[in-house]
């Protein structure tokens, strides 16, 4: 394998053209995943995390979306410049996605066997023709991997006959079937109960560790990334604001946004919750200049509304896009 990153997003911009102007949703996203790495992407509703991943899979509706700038390298090749055939191979064999809502991700009029079979045929077999029997066998194996009992019978079932947790497992089975190199999991299990979500997360972690697959876990819940990820990106209003190893981030959050978020999370230790972050996510039609977080930031300085902060390296495994950390340390 090459030594470079598996996925490398460089200065990605995504705009949406709507009534009244242009929604400047992604504003220079930089994001890297190395082979075998589990990366978390945390951000609140509307921060652009799903848009980023849709851009990676090239499933953004264009129009209204447009990508005015940026590159997305997958194994050294720019996804945005790929032809249909190469893109198809990346989607089929390279990257797969687990969606938040397993009910919407499965087609209600096909059986689990038909849907899983199609995935097996296109991804696992790598385009070669394989017999029905083999497809069936591999589908059974895929279901057993996600700890679903009675796989034979399950293959004949329709999605509505399964519980939410089972559907989510089927989606994961479809995503890990074959040797995909990267799985993008968009809020896996968030629509399910915590006790089920916990099972799903443990399953996902076990599978990717076994297969040494890379994972991008998209979520709005800080606790969920802490369970799985090696490294975490925090995203706010179309830009990454902080990246660090999981341990580092949770023990020493630095960006005012991350800090606010951490304080707002209700803790099992009790003691009430801090007041959160004032205001709300900016209007993408007319986002604030400079650092997009400055209108909500309690430590904003003059420069924050003027210039966009770069990532400042505070330690080997911790970078923050905030002027407080320019020159490698806090400005007094």
């Amino acid at each position: 394998m090459s030594v470079g990153p598996l996925l490398d997003i460089k200065d990605l911009y995504v705009h949406f053209h709507v009534f009244g102007g242009t929604l400047k949703v992604l504003d220079g996203v930089n994001f890297t995943v190395y082979s075998g790495e589990k990366v978390g992407l945390v951000g609140e509703t509307g921060c652009g995390k799903t848009t980023t991943m849709k851009a990676v899979l090239r499933v953004l509706p264009m129009p209204p979306a447009r990508i005015p700038g940026g590159e997305i390298y997958f194994k050294g090749r720019d996804i945005l410049k790929m032809g249909a055939e190469e893109l198809g191979r990346v989607r089929g064999e390279g990257i797969s996605m687990v969606f938040q809502d397993p009910t919407a991700a499965l087609n209600p009029v096909f059986t689990i066997g038909q849907q899983l079979g199609a995935v097996v045929r296109y991804s696992l077999a790598g385009g070669k023709r394989i017999s029905r029997k083999e497809i069936h066998q591999r589908a059974v194996v895929a279901l057993k991997e996600v700890a679903l009992p009675d796989a034979e019978r399950l293959l004949k079932n329709y999605p509505f006959q399964l519980s939410g947790g089972m559907r989510q497992r089927v989606c994961i089975a479809m995503a890990v079937a074959g040797s995909r190199e990267l799985i993008v999991a968009d809020e896996p299990g968030t629509s399910l109960d915590v006790s089920i979500q916990d099972q799903i997360l443990r399953l996902l972690r076990r599978l990717v560790e076994e297969k040494n697959t890379s994972v991008i876990l998209i979520t709005h819940t800080l606790g969920v990334v802490r369970e799985i990820a090696d490294r975490v990106y925090v995203m706010y209003a179309g830009k990454m604001v902080e990246v660090a190893t999981t341990e580092e981030l949770f023990s020493r959050p630095l960006h005012p946004y991350t800090l606010g978020l951490m304080k707002a999370v209700p803790k099992l230790t009790g003691g009430g919750i801090a007041d959160g972050i004032p205001g709300r996510i900016p209007d993408y039609l007319d986002p604030p200049g400079g650092c997009r977080f400055h209108p909500r930031c309690d430590q904003a300085m003059g420069v924050c509304s003027q210039e966009k902060p770069w990532f400042y390296r505070v330690s080997d495994d911790h970078e923050v896009a905030c002027f407080l950390y320019r020159e490698g340390g806090k400005e007094k």
Partner: protein, 294 residues
């Protein structure tokens, strides 16, 4: 302290502009709107814009009978010398008038029944109202209209009565579907638990959320009512001679096809124009009311 209406009306303007943007994204919607406005204008001001207003009634001019289209008579004249163009303008009056009257007869009862049945889904009220609508829907509409018109005296009023009788169930159905979904929204539960009256819940909470689909359907239905009206006229059960109904004109002219084609072709095209206009307008309205997705 409270900035009152100006702010609200600014918002309203903004909304109007947004709606117009959504409506006008499809060129055909604008064409539809333009057609409907044009036809309405011609119908309302027919006596002023028609070249020969007198030709709209019992008028005979055998000297100019069966003239093909010319500068003098752009759409030609019929077998007793009446200007087809003028009669089409007046025909629009009957067609649009019929549409407006039928819809205003049909929409209120249909909507109210649908609301009541939908809100009380699962109760006897629902069963009674919706089964009655089913019965009306089961009778072939044109046949029912023909039956009514032939039992009563065939005239425009009875034609409208007949069409209305078979049209309201569609509105009951539409609103029933909407209301039975909307009643599960928590704003309805909230109003109920606060103690709001049934009247308030039906007409202030649920009905406003049904308005857009109702308007869309009304626009599409204008076209349909005009077609049915024309069909009834065509078989002699609608607008009666010497008045110029578009359907009557097509029917009268059909006897002289293909030699004197203009007598029936131009009224036919007029029907197509009106119906198409309302359908395109309806499509545009539907686009406008559709939720925006980014």
């Amino acid at each position: 302290m409270v900035p009152a209406k100006p702010l609200a009306s600014a918002k309203r303007m903004e909304n109007l502009r947004r709606n117009w943007y959504k409506f006008s994204r499809n060129r055909m919607s604008i064409l539809g709107l333009f057609t409907v406005l044009l036809v309405t204008f011609l119908a309302v001001f027919a006596p002023l814009v028609a070249p020969y207003p007198k030709h709209a009634s019992a008028f005979v001019d055998f000297a100019n009978a069966s003239r093909p289209p010319s500068l003098e008579y752009p759409f030609g004249t019929d077998v007793i010398g009446r200007d087809i163009l003028s009669r089409i303008f007046f025909g629009f009056r009957f067609s649009l008038g019929m549409g407006v009257i039928v819809l205003s007869l049909v929409v209120p009862p249909g909507v109210v029944l649908g609301l009541v049945a939908g809100y009380n889904q699962g109760t006897w009220l629902d069963t009674v109202i919706m089964r009655i609508t089913d019965i009306f829907l089961a009778v072939p509409s044109l046949v029912l209209a023909l039956a009514i018109c032939s039992v009563l005296t065939p005239n425009l009023f009875n034609a409208m009565l007949a069409v209305s009788l078979m049209w309201w169930p569609w509105y009951a159905r539409l609103v029933y579907g909407l209301a039975s979904t909307l009643r599960n929204e928590f704003f309805v539960a909230s109003a109920e638990t606060i103690g709001a009256s049934k009247f308030h819940i039906l007409f202030r909470e649920i009905l406003p959320n049904c308005i857009s689909p109702i308007f869309t359907k009304m626009s599409l239905d204008m076209g349909w009512v005009i077609i049915i009206g024309s069909a009834l006229s065509f078989v002699g059960l609608g607008v009666q001679a010497p008045r110029p109904g578009l359907g009557t004109m097509v029917s009268d002219g059909s006897k002289y096809l293909p030699e004197q084609w203009w007598i029936s072709v131009f009224p036919s095209l007029a029907i197509v124009l009106v119906v198409l206009g309302f359908n395109l307008l309806g499509d545009g309205l539907r686009d406008m009311f559709a939720a925006e997705e980014v």
